[in-house]
């Protein structure tokens, strides 16, 4: 059976070329970069430094501005908590958008507990942030502004360039979570005046367990881990050398090939987008044009997200939902079972929608795989609607009304 993986926003398959670059660092080159008096340590140190330069090149930064972490969550935590504390005792205000990832949002909990004031920026119905709203939100005591580059659930690309210029004028440290965008669309810190940028290797065909935080020279960030002096003191602990090497290799590939990937993905995305128009009462989410290539997100009236995904999986199509019902399936708290915060932020009515469906295509996807999804969807939607009491009522109302 043909299988189609359309959940690249959650993770991407490792590029085999990246794997080949990593391979020697599992068995042959096992040194610790911090213990480099001998050959093994030297090899590891050189590999990590090379990867640092490669990741820096992807975003137009200097090698010395890249701190390796375990992934986007750690990078976001370090950026938010580290920069808030780094701003000093007089600055106790943090501004973030309403559609940030949990690793930004939940990092605000300890800040609030410590007495910080938090301003959440509203988004428009496409999930876009208005730079003017940023201008109004920033204050003399604002320690940090954090805005994602692209939203994973609805694909919208935020105007981080103009927003960054506002932050710069106001003298506020600006963090950009580029987890979903880096390696897919250009992220250049010469265009985006960010002080901190989060990157994640497994989101651009690199390995899991490797991430980075770009720190513009002079940005004050207080470390969150305590130990040795690895990563210029920002992140104690022995580097995950094979994963870091993989992140460097993935950054090279992305820098070289992302234009071709984007073109391929935009074509497939358009086919999917156009094909979905055949399904009645389907609503796209996110910005129609300012969005990640190959990212198609929508919700369907009278259809619950998880059920749709389960049926799609049976047909070999793997997609994701932003609905808490499925994404928090392994959560422990019924309070998790609320409509997606992103959907709520963009004003999707919660009485008819509990989850958006996200198809995030990758460079390996084909037109046949898109066809598989388009062939499967109408029948699944029909089947679930036939089971839904809300659809029954809707139909009865239609008959009465018409």
């Amino acid at each position: 059976m043909t299988k189609a993986f359309f959940d690249h926003i959650s993770t991407t398959p490792l590029d085999p070329r990246v794997f080949e670059a990593m391979r020697p660092y599992f068995l042959d080159r096992y040194g610790n970069p911090s213990s480099h008096i001998h050959d093994q340590g030297q090899a590891a140190l050189r590999a990590v430094d090379q990867a640092r330069a490669e990741v820096a090149a992807l975003i137009g930064a200097k090698a010395g501005e890249i701190v390796f972490t375990s992934g986007a969550t750690e990078s976001n935590n370090l950026a938010v908590l580290g920069a808030a504390e780094g701003a000093g005792a007089a600055k106790r205000h943090v501004v973030v958008s309403g559609v940030e990832h949990f690793s930004v949002m939940n990092a605000l909990i300890p800040l609030r507990n410590a007495g910080y004031e938090v301003t959440i920026l509203p988004v428009d119905r496409n999930g876009g942030i208005d730079p003017d709203a940023v201008r109004k939100a920033l204050r003399a005591d604002t320690a940090l502004l954090s805005v994602m580059h692209a939203n994973s659930e609805i694909g919208t690309i935020e105007p981080v360039g103009p927003i960054g210029r506002i932050a710069k004028e106001a003298g506020v440290t600006f963090h950009v979570d580029a987890t979903a965008s880096a390696g897919h669309i250009p992220v250049d810190i010469r265009e985006i005046p960010a002080d901190l940028v989060t990157l994640s290797a497994h989101n651009f065909y690199g390995p899991k367990g490797a991430g980075a935080l770009y720190l513009r020279e002079g940005t004050k960030v207080v470390p969150r881990t305590f130990g040795g002096f690895q990563e210029m003191g920002y992140r104690a602990g022995t580097e995950n050398v094979p994963a870091v090497v993989g992140m460097g290799a993935a950054a090279i590939l992305a820098g070289r090939e992302m234009g071709a990937w984007a073109e391929h993905l935009s074509g497939l995305g358009k086919t999917l987008w156009d094909g979905l128009a055949a399904i009645p009462m389907l609503h796209y989410t996110g910005h129609p044009s300012e969005r990640l290539p190959g990212h198609v997100s929508f919700w369907v009236e009278h259809v619950e997200g998880e059920s749709l995904l389960l049926f799609l999986n049976m047909k070999g199509v793997m997609a994701a939902s932003g609905s808490a019902c499925s994404s928090n399936l392994r959560g422990h708290d019924e309070e998790d079972l609320v409509a997606s915060p992103v959907l709520r932020a963009i004003g999707v009515p919660s009485d008819i929608c509990t989850g958006s469906i996200t198809f995030s295509l990758g460079k390996g996807n084909t037109a046949d795989e898109v066809r598989l999804a388009l062939d499967a969807l109408p029948g699944i939607v029909e089947r679930l609607r036939a089971m839904s009491p809300t659809y029954l009522d809707f139909q009865k109302q239609q008959v009465k009304g018409g």
């Binding site: 009278h302 619950e304 998880e306 059920s307 389960l310 049926f311 999986n313 049976m314 609905s323 808490a324 019902c325 499925s326 928090n328 399936l329 392994r330 959560g331 422990h332 708290d333 019924e334 998790d336 079972l337 609320v338 409509a339 919660s350 009485d351 008819i352 509990t354 036939a386 089971m387 839904s388 009491p389 809300t390 659809y391 029954l392």
Partner: protein, 127 residues
């Protein structure tokens, strides 16, 4: 076949739900849940001589909600009104070979639906 976090039985009842539909002139109708909370179930009962002779449902919800609804209708058919009222969410979850912790509320919804439908039956037949 088992898929993801669900038992084979849940998947069977999700993929091939039993007793989907409506009963014209049902003796009791129960509706619980709310689409805003992720799921909603409507249960129709036909009751004859104190026994549930037919049960049908429509559910908007996740895999566990649909499977719980389907399993519930199978469990209550042929039962007396009192027996049906005694069914708990645990009975439904057990019959499905268990539900993930975060989906227990789906079986609770099934229990509430049958109680609500039986209340409706009592109300309709009180006079």
């Amino acid at each position: 076949m088992a898929a993801g976090p669900y038992s084979e039985k849940v998947m069977d009842h999700f993929m091939n739900p039993r007793n989907v539909g409506e009963i014209e002139s049902a003796d009791g109708i129960g509706e619980v849940g709310n689409p805003a909370c992720g799921d909603m179930m409507r249960l129709y009962l036909k009751i004859d001589e104190g026994k549930v002779v037919d049960a049908k449902f429509r559910t908007f919800g996740c895999g566990a909600a649909i499977a719980s609804s389907s399993m519930l209708t199978e469990m209550i058919k042929g039962k007396t009104v009192d027996e049906a009222r005694a069914i708990t969410n645990q009975h439904v979850a057990d019959a499905l070979d268990g539900l993930p912790a975060v989906k227990i509320h789906c079986s609770v919804m099934a229990e509430q639906a049958v109680k609500s439908a039986l209340d409706d039956y009592v109300k309709k037949h009180a006079g």
